[in-house]
């Protein structure tokens, strides 16, 4: 009865100045699918790093019992050796090597004389691919596969090591619905073969669909473990555990009073930078002052591409179409022109495209508005500090001072720095691309509040998001985008998740 494959007991892990995990316990039964839920920064990834030996024994307090033995891993190799495999959010495959080479990377099957028998390896790889339901030639380079298939290769790689416990960190975050469904089905198949899985996910519908038990972590502590068998545990119930409060207050209230049109884009067409296809296809959209407009679309629909191409042609080639601000056509051929015309774009990937992580808060906030802070090319650094300081206060950026390095801030605070940067350029329209991606619920609420304040002050805001509830909770109007075309424009009071999803998949079905 009490057949637990894994028990983590009273794990406490401290970083200088921060307690990341405090007395966390996790019990996983043999052969189950166990989900771990929690806000970003709750400590899920840290816990998995402790389990997989990334943080070696001795750097944390507590005990790990795997398969009946107390384990003290000093590195990933040790945990792999006993049969624990972890598949990270960012896939760790070498794009230029073949599927087979990737599967056996670091675990090469050496034959006679230390040479690799490639025929045997490729045949074995083929069998592993069959077992994960991937119908690909093991000789083709991994870089040619889509994300979903790469994920399957990662699982095949884990299987090649005789895995007993498979840990998947946000496996479906980058997958479309079909690939997600396939992956979750695969977990069931593996379960039948006796492989236990731990799945970390934000997608609660998937968790309720597949997991046997779910452990909720909040602020570095275990909140509870719920059994999903009885069918009584709803998604709302899980969220309550994660957040520690009910969902009603998730999106702040706002009265909407749209004014005159601020931004209008007509006939916007963008080609892929390297391939011969249209990424945005004759798109038309408009935003009014005091209005929040959403752009919904599945991955690859061209949401980010649309926004970035408008913002100084930062994406794509052969761009055609017209941009109007306040009814007058404007040039937005460079980022500077776009900024000067009152457009701001806060990227979906703030670490890669939004922030200088090694620089302090102050200089990140001033980065796009140095022109306002300088005379004849000389920067007034006192004024700069004053501006940053006032943003820090008004945005509630949690940092000891404006000279704190941005790379050390949490996701939510980093996002506030990005917003501060763009607000300082005093834009008329802000395009926010996935403004709450990777930040925790509390900070999300603050970001929504900031959006509300902006529109109350007469700005126009465009929100691009892959979370439909977020669009429904924040926007006045939503455009749906599918395969580069605008397939619908719906006032939010008439929209439901289902109706938006139908529009977002419209073109695909026509094309298929």
């Amino acid at each position: 009865m009490d057949d637990n494959i894994l028990e983590m007991r009273s794990i406490t892990k401290t970083f200088p100045g921060v307690k990341a995990l405090e007395d966390v316990s996790l019990t996983v039964r043999r052969g189950e699918v166990h989900a771990i839920c929690g806000e970003n920064g709750a400590g899920k990834s840290t816990l998995m790093k402790v389990l997989s030996g990334v943080y070696p024994a001795g750097s944390y307090d507590g005990e790990i019992v795997f398969d009946g033995d107390v384990c003290r891993f000093s590195g990933i190799r040790d945990s792999e050796h006993v049969g624990i495999a972890i598949i990270h959010q960012e896939l760790a495959l070498v794009p230029y090597l073949s599927i087979a080479e990737n599967i056996f990377l670091g675990n090469e099957r050496r034959g006679r004389g230390g040479l690799i028998n490639w025929n045997k390896v490729n045949a074995e790889a083929g069998e592993l691919l069959d077992s994960v339901g991937l119908d690909e030639n093991p000789l083709i380079p991994v870089g040619q596969l889509g994300v979903g298939k790469q994920q399957l290769v990662e699982i095949a790689k884990a299987l090649s090591k005789d895995v007993k416990l498979l840990i998947l960190d946000e496996p479906t975050a980058a997958l479309n619905d079909t690939d997600s469904a396939h992956l979750l089905g695969l977990l069931r198949t593996l379960q039948e073969r006796g492989i236990t899985s731990i799945i970390i996910s934000h997608k609660l519908n998937e968790i309720t669909a597949i997991a046997d038990n779910v452990t909720i972590i909040r602020d570095g502590q275990t909140v509870e473990t719920l059994s999903l068998h009885a069918g009584e545990v709803t998604q709302d119930r899980i969220i309550r555990g994660m957040v520690g409060r009910d969902l009603e207050s998730y999106y702040p209230e706002r009265e909407s009073h749209p004014g005159a049109e601020v931004l209008r884009v007509e006939d916007w067409t963008v080609k892929h930078p390297t391939q011969d296809r249209l990424v945005v296809d004759h798109a038309n959209l408009s935003v009014r002052a005091g209005e929040v407009v959403g752009i919904a679309g599945l991955m690859g629909a061209g949401r980010t591409e649309l926004a970035m191409s408008i913002f100084g042609r930062s994406y794509g080639r052969d761009i055609s179409g017209r941009v109007f601000m306040h009814g007058k056509e404007v040039r937005t051929r460079t980022v500077t022109e776009a900024i000067d015309n009152g457009i701001a774009y806060a990227t979906e990937d703030r670490k890669k495209y939004g922030l200088n992580l090694i620089e302090d808060i102050r200089r990140n906030i001033s980065a796009a508005g140095l022109g306002k802070l300088s005379r004849r090319g000389w920067v007034n650094s006192n004024e700069e500090t004053k501006v940053a300081e006032s943003s820090r206060k008004s945005m509630n950026i949690k940092a000891p001072s404006v000279s704190s390095i941005v790379g050390k801030l949490s996701g939510g605070n980093q996002q506030k720095v990005v917003l501060s940067k763009w607000l300082y350029t005093d834009p008329d329209v802000l395009i926010l691309d996935e403004p709450t991606r990777g930040i925790d619920v509390g900070a999300k609420y603050e970001i929504y509040t900031i959006i509300n304040d902006l529109v109350a002050a007469g700005k126009a805001v465009v929100v691009i998001s892959s979370e439909l509830p977020e669009l429904l909770g924040t926007c006045d109007r939503v455009y749906t985008l599918s395969a580069g075309r605008i397939t619908g424009e719906v006032p939010v009071r008439e929209a439901t998740q289902e109706s938006l999803m139908a529009l977002m998949t419209k073109e695909r079905e026509l094309a298929a």
Partner: protein
């Protein structure tokens, strides 16, 4: 993990360092806080002082003798000039391997005009600088507008401009320069205000420099106070001015007791101050750091990346030409092999001075101190009669350790996340 607190905050009350203090208020912890918050930068100064002290001790004080201090300045001036340009290139995330060849080419052009054609000395200087600017524009064009990595462009430039140097000089050395030209690197301002066994003028310039430092420090302090920002206590400020003043005046005293104020030191001082201000206080300087820190973010913030990169290399060409003039002046002629390996000294100076290999980090002052560390080490070891081969080994190890220290520091900082 939701609240990330910098590592040092664990030991002190989090806001202690950052709460604005009224001007003039002094605290016993003030000095320690100042040192700790500046440890990354002050590490290099401490290392410099330690190395100077070590070699002064080993050479029984010869290192800091009047004649040797003058020599140090003259010998390494062109490396320091190159280090200024190089650190800017490195902050932006590039590298320049061609500066040695450009030093040779600009010196050669100047020598041909002045020695061969008999043009006045200033025509040689202007021509050298024009050539340097052209070379910089060439590099800038390929790096910024064609998008070829600077490593490749300047590696090609290293070969290209070395070859052109040989062409210009027809494979032979040219010498000697007229006296005015030689004065750029070897001349002294001496006896302008008379003296009594020492040169008064040098001391006056030293005093003016210290006064300038104090006044500008005071004005920025006042400006910060006006904006309600924290400033160091008055006592600490005075101690700082007195310490800098003492070092500068001691240095000036040694120069005054030798041959007076070297002209090249004036050039160097002007360049150091100008570029220190440019990197720190201008839009251009900020954009250089932004590009090196995160190129994509800089682009999406409206930085005209191509133009900035272009001008970074034009500037490097300009400073290479200045170094070329100084070097040709010092060696009193132009040689086909002039300036070989200078790029490596300049790069080493920038890295020892705290620049990051990944870009985005570094200071002009740091690079100059890095260059001086190398200068003091080679000079000190030469005084001790250490073999050239051993000197090279030591310099290599110091460079490696300096960067290792930087990497270690970063890892320690990163571990807190």
């Amino acid at each position: 993990m939701t609240r990330t607190v910098p590592p040092e905050a664990g030991q002190t009350p989090p806001n202690a360092e950052f709460t604005p203090k009224p001007a003039g208020q002094s605290g016993s912890g003030n000095m320690r806080e100042f040192l700790r918050s500046n440890l990354r930068q002050s590490g290099i100064y401490i290392a410099f002082i330690a190395i100077v002290a070590l070699f002064t001790f080993l050479t029984d004080g010869t290192l800091l003798s009047a004649g040797n201090v003058t020599n140090l300045v003259l010998q390494y001036s062109y490396i320091l000039v190159l280090a200024i340009g190089m650190v800017i290139v490195i902050i932006a995330g590039h590298i320049d391997l061609s500066v040695g060849s450009v030093v040779a080419l600009t010196g050669a052009v100047s020598a041909v005009l002045v020695i061969d054609r008999g043009l006045p000395w200033w025509a040689g200087v202007l021509a050298a600088i024009a050539v340097g600017l052209l070379v910089g524009a060439w590099h800038g064009f390929w790096v910024a507008y064609v998008g070829i990595p600077a490593f490749i462009v300047t590696l090609a430039g290293m070969l290209l401009f070395r070859g052109l140097t040989l062409q210009v000089l027809d494979n032979v050395s040219l010498s000697p320069f007229p006296a005015e030209y030689r004065d750029v690197a070897s001349g002294f301002l001496n006896g302008l205000l008379g003296g009594y066994g020492y040169d008064t003028f040098t001391l006056v310039i030293g005093a003016v420099a210290v006064a300038g430092y104090a006044v500008s420090g005071w004005r920025s302090r006042a400006a910060r106070t006006r904006y309600g920002q924290p400033v160091e206590s008055l006592a600490l400020f005075i101690v700082k001015v007195l310490a800098v003043g003492a070092v500068v005046m001691a240095f000036a005293w040694q120069l005054a007791n030798a041959r007076g104020l070297p002209i090249v030191l004036i050039i160097l001082g002007v360049l150091a101050i100008a570029y220190g201000l440019i990197t720190k206080n201008t839009v251009f300087g900020r954009q250089v750091y932004a590009i090196g820190g995160n190129l994509s973010a800089a682009t999406l913030s409206g930085v005209k990346v191509k133009a900035v990169n272009f001008w970074i290399f034009v500037n490097m060409g300009f400073l290479s030409a200045v170094a070329g003039v100084i070097y040709s002046s010092r060696s009193n002629g132009a040689q086909p092999a002039a300036g070989e390996m200078f790029e490596l000294d300049a790069i080493a100076a920038a890295f020892i001075g705290g620049a990051a290999v990944t870009g985005g980090v570094g200071t002009v002052v740091g690079a100059m101190v890095g260059g001086l560390i190398m200068a003091v080490m080679s000079n000190g070891m030469s005084l001790l009669g250490v073999d050239q081969s051993i000197q090279s080994v030591v310099k290599g190890l110091v460079l490696l350790l300096a960067v290792a220290f930087d990497v270690y520091n970063k890892r320690r900082a990163g571990a807190s996340r």
